[in-house]
């Protein structure tokens, strides 16, 4: 029951984020769901797949695309990471100022090495994040990310971690600005990152 409640609360948060984005003048400049007013992106202190501490403050001056997933995920996560990689490539030289941060929802299986190999396969500049289950739960709560682990004895993949699939865009000053739903067009990501870089 408590799990269900927390899941509902998470879904409500996401809904609220979209609802806030709907029909306001400010969001007209962004193609995806925009936050109004922008609010500071909750800080985190995790271990990064680049070997450094993972803190958003390290990326001030860049636009951060923040997502959640895991390395055993075959469809949603690779699609998201591939689109982000394509967007960064399309941005050309400006892509240097776009940082993708991808945080695991499966710390049991995702070591730093696995994260580095998996995420680096899309773009070597992408940084994966992990931490203790408690640290990760705290970050998910701050961002309204919901997960549900399911054991799948009928599948060879042992267990899955269903998870929220949207991606946040955080501006150069560290403010939450947009929410990209799963499957959003690469050109829309490019447009919004470019818009935020021009802010």
């Amino acid at each position: 029951m408590r799990a269900l409640l927390s899941r509902l609360a998470g879904a409500l948060l996401v809904w609220a984020a979209f609802a806030c984005a709907a029909g306001d003048a400010f969001s007209a400049e962004l193609k995806t769901g925009a936050f109004k007013p922008p609010r500071p992106a909750p800080e985190m202190s995790l271990r990064g797949s680049d070997g450094a501490e993972l803190k958003l403050a390290h990326y001030r001056g860049k636009v951060v695309a923040l997502g959640f997933g895991y390395t055993t995920c075959p469809d949603v996560c690779p699609t998201t990471l591939a689109y982000l990689a394509q967007a960064r490539e399309k941005l050309g030289p400006a892509g240097r100022d776009m940082q993708v941060v991808y945080i695991t929802v499966d710390p049991e299986r995702d070591s730093l090495e696995r994260l580095r190999a998996y995420i680096g396969g899309f773009d070597p500049t992408f940084v994966g994040g992990t931490g203790t289950p408690e640290q990760l739960a705290e970050v998910r709560k701050a961002y309204g990310i919901v997960i549900a682990r399911e054991d799948v004895p009928e599948s060879k993949s042992a267990y899955w971690v269903h998870h929220s699939s949207f991606v946040y865009l955080i501006d150069r000053a560290g403010y939450l600005r947009a929410l990209l739903p799963f499957g959003v067009k690469v050109d829309d990501i490019v447009h919004d990152v470019k818009t935020l870089l021009g802010d």
Partner: protein, 153 residues
Amino acid sequence: MATRVVRGLVCGVVLAAATAVSSQPEEAKVRVDSAWARRAVMIRSNDANAFTGTGAVYATLVNAGPKSDALVAVATDAAGVAEIHETFEESGLSRMRQVARLDVAPGAKVELKPGGYHIMLINLARDLKAGEAIKLTLVFQNAGKIAVTAQIR
């Protein structure tokens, strides 16, 4: 006159038989179009039991025949196992489930695409590099085995 009719009939029967024979390996009623695989990295580790990573293959299944058919299994040497899966949204969560069979009605198409049906590759045997291709065998209930090449991108 009678002989001409008989000759005509015989010719007709022979021709019909020949036509039937020539169409004998029956034209494929079920086919697999536009197969592609998402690039993926095989995760190497010292632990022999650890997952070496997963991948996904997408395609369009087309049933041009009069009978319904179903994709029931997939085999490939690119991964330890290939399973038929579906991604779906529920209460703000992106979820996945395994599908035992994927029905394709007569005259219908079923699209396997990101965020929907896909063939999940479990325990990759190698890196799936953009520009290369992998081979798969898709097993249909009626049409049997169909060899498919999926371009990696």
